[in-house]
C-alpha cells in the first residue's frame, strides 16, 4: 500500500514514541506510532482507499482523507475493527451543519459527543452502561480520541493557533459512548432518525454546555421538571444559520428511566411535555428560553448505570447534531 503522507524516521520504537511529542501531534498523552503497517491495517478494516475524501473544513482549506484519519486512529489506540465507526464519526463531524470550524475554534471550547447505536456496539464493545462517559473502555476512549486527533492534526485545531478555547475541557480528550438500547423498551435514537434497527449509526453532537440532572424524587413529572429547569439555567439562543435543526440531547440514566417508564412515558411523550416548558419565554437570568423549533429537537438517549438518579443534557454549540451510518465491508 502506498501513502500520500510525509514520513518520519526514528532509531527505535521509544524514539518514535517521543518523536510524536516533538512533532507536536499529540493531545499531550502518548500515542501509538503510526507506522505504515498499522495504518494499512486500519484502511483495510475500514474498506476504504487512503485517498477517499470524508469531508472538508472550507474555512481552513482542509480536505480530510481516509489516510489521515487512519493515521490518527492508529495514534489514538484504535483497533482496526473500530475504524468503520471512526470513519462514520468523522463524516458526521464534517457535515456542513456540524459547523466544524466554529465548534473547534470557539473561545467556549465546545466538545463533541460521539454516540454509537446499532449492532456494532456489541461487535467491538462500545460501552453504554455503568461509567460509560468515563475512562476504562478502549473503544469509547480511542474512538472519541481519534476524532479529537483528527480535529487537531488534520483540521488544524491546535491550541494557541486555531483552537482558541479560553479554558478548553477534559471532554476534548475523548467523549464516546453507546446508547444502551437493550436496557430500555424505548425506540433507539438511530431508529427515530430513520435508520433500521439492524443498522449501526454514529451521531455527533457539539456540546457547549453539559448539565447534570440529578433528581431523587420518585415522581416522574418532578424528574422532568428538574430537567427543564436545569436546561433553562442558561438557555439557548436561536442561531439563524444552524436553523431549525439545532437540537439538544438528553441522556436519561436507568434510575430516571425506571421511574419514567413505570408511569408510561416514552421518548416521544417526554419530548412533547418538555418542549413548551423549554421554549417558554425567558423569565429571569437563570430561567432562560431554550430555543428549539419543535419537540423533535429534543433527542433522547438512554445510557449510564444504576444507582444515582441522574440524567444529562448536552446543549449544543452553533451546530446541529449530525449522523452517519457505519459502513461495513
Amino acid at each position: 500500500m502506498t501513502f500520500a503522507s510525509d514520513t518520519h524516521s526514528f532509531d527505535s520504537f521509544e524514539d518514535a514514541l517521543e518523536g510524536q511529542f516533538e512533532l507536536g501531534v499529540t493531545d499531550g498523552l502518548p500515542v501509538i506510532p503510526p507506522t505504515p503497517e498499522r495504518v494499512a491495517a486500519m484502511l483495510v478494516a475500514g474498506g476504504v482507499a487512503g485517498d477517499t475524501v470524508l469531508g472538508e473544513v472550507p474555512t481552513r482549506d482542509v480536505v480530510v482523507t481516509a489516510e489521515k484519519v487512519a493515521i490518527n486512529a492508529v495514534m489514538a489506540g484504535c483497533l482496526p475493527e473500530y475504524f468503520p465507526v471512526v470513519l462514520a464519526a468523522v463524516r458526521a463531524f464534517l457535515q456542513p451543519l456540524g459547523n466544524a470550524h466554529s465548534t473547534t475554534a470557539t473561545l467556549a471550547g465546545a466538545a463533541h459527543a460521539v454516540i454509537v447505536n446499532g449492532p456494532i456496539r456489541h461487535d467491538i464493545g462500545v460501552h453504554g452502561g455503568q461509567a460509560c462517559f468515563g475512562p476504562g473502555f478502549r473503544p469509547n476512549a480511542t474512538i472519541g480520541r481519534a476524532l479529537r486527533l483528527v480535529i487537531r492534526n488534520v483540521c488544524r485545531t491546535v491550541p494557541g493557533v486555531l483552537d482558541r478555547a479560553s479554558f478548553s475541557w477534559p471532554l476534548r480528550y475523548s467523549f464516546c459512548f453507546a446508547e444502551d438500547e437493550e436496557a430500555t423498551a424505548w425506540t433507539p435514537l438511530h431508529v427515530k432518525l430513520g435508520y433500521e434497527r439492524e443498522q449501526s449509526v454514529v451521531t455527533v453532537q457539539s456540546i457547549m454546555r453539559l448539565f447534570q440532572v440529578t433528581e431523587f424524587a420518585p415522581e416522574s413529572e418532578e424528574i422532568l421538571t428538574t430537567a427543564y429547569e436545569i436546561a433553562r439555567h442558561m438557555g439557548l439562543q436561536r442561531d439563524e444559520w444552524a436553523g431549525d435543526g439545532r437540537s439538544v440531547v438528553l441522556v436519561i440514566g436507568p434510575e430516571h428511566y425506571r421511574r419514567l417508564v413505570a408511569d408510561g412515558w416514552t421518548k416521544e411523550s417526554i419530548a412533547e411535555w418538555l418542549y413548551p416548558r423549554l421554549v417558554a419565554e425567558t423569565a429571569g437570568k437563570f430561567d432562560q428560553k431554550v430555543t428549539l423549533a419543535s419537540p423533535a429537537n429534543i433527542w433522547i438517549v438512554t445510557a449510564g448505570g444504576p444507582g444515582i438518579a441522574q440524567s444529562w443534557w448536552f446543549i449544543p454549540h452553533l451546530a446541529t447534531p449530525t449522523h452517519e451510518a457505519v459502513l461495513l465491508n
Partner: protein
C-alpha cells in the same frame, strides 16, 4: 531498528504568496462593504464607521450584510450582493475564536475576489487571525486591532462603540487605499 511513521497532519500554509486586491487612491466614490458577524454590540461600531466615512471621505454607498451566525461565511445571496456592490470592505468583529478567524477568512475571500478588505479584530485574537492569514499565504496581511480595556466579545456600550469607530477610522482608510 528504524521505525518509520506517517505524518498525521495536513500541514500549514500554502507556500504561495497571496495576491491582494488593487487599492483605490481614495475612498471617494467607493461603496463600502460591511461583513458583520453580529458579535455583541459590534454592528453599531460598523454603522458608525460607515456613517463617518460617508461624511468625510465621500463614499458612494454602503453594502452591509449581517451573517446568519458569527463564524460562518456570508450566505450565497449575501456574497453575491457584496460582489455586485462593494468596491472596498471591512469585516469583523474578530472578538471570539471562531468568529475572528472566519472574519479574517471573509476579508481574504474578498481580496481574492478583487475587493480590497480589512478585518477588525481584538488583540486577544490577533494570533488566531494571523494563523488564518498564514494558512493562505497572506502572512503579513494587515489587520486593525482593538485592545483592552475594551471587551473582546464586543460587550460594549453605545458610547464605546462610537468611540471605537472613531479610533479605527484612519486605519480603515489607510488599509483600503493605496
Amino acid at each position: 531498528m528504524t521505525v518509520v511513521t506517517l505524518d498525521p497532519t495536513t500541514g500549514f500554509g500554502s507556500g504561495e504568496a497571496f495576491p491582494l486586491a488593487i487599492r483605490p487612491d481614495t475612498l471617494a466614490g467607493q461603496t463600502l462593504g460591511i461583513v458583520a458577524n453580529g458579535l455583541g454590540d459590534s454592528e453599531s461600531m460598523f454603522d458608525a464607521i460607515a456613517a463617518a466615512l460617508s461624511g468625510t471621505d465621500g463614499l458612494a454607498g454602503i453594502c452591509k450584510v449581517v451573517k446568519h451566525s458569527v463564524a460562518v461565511p456570508p450566505q450565497p445571496e449575501q456574497w453575491q450582493e457584496l460582489l455586485a456592490h462593494a468596491t472596498v470592505a471591512v469585516t469583523g468583529f474578530g472578538g471570539c475564536g471562531s468568529c475572528s478567524t472566519r472574519s479574517m477568512r471573509d476579508a481574504l475571500d474578498l481580496e481574492a475576489a478583487g475587493i480590497p478588505a480589512v478585518c477588525i479584530v481584538h488583540s486577544a485574537l490577533e494570533p488566531a487571525v494571523r494563523a488564518m492569514a498564514r494558512l493562505v499565504g497572506a502572512d503579513n496581511y494587515p489587520v486593525i486591532v482593538i485592545d483592552y480595556p475594551h471587551n473582546p466579545t464586543a460587550v460594549w456600550t453605545a458610547e464605546e462603540s462610537a468611540m471605537l469607530a472613531n479610533q479605527v477610522l484612519d486605519a480603515v482608510r489607510l488599509r483600503l487605499t493605496r
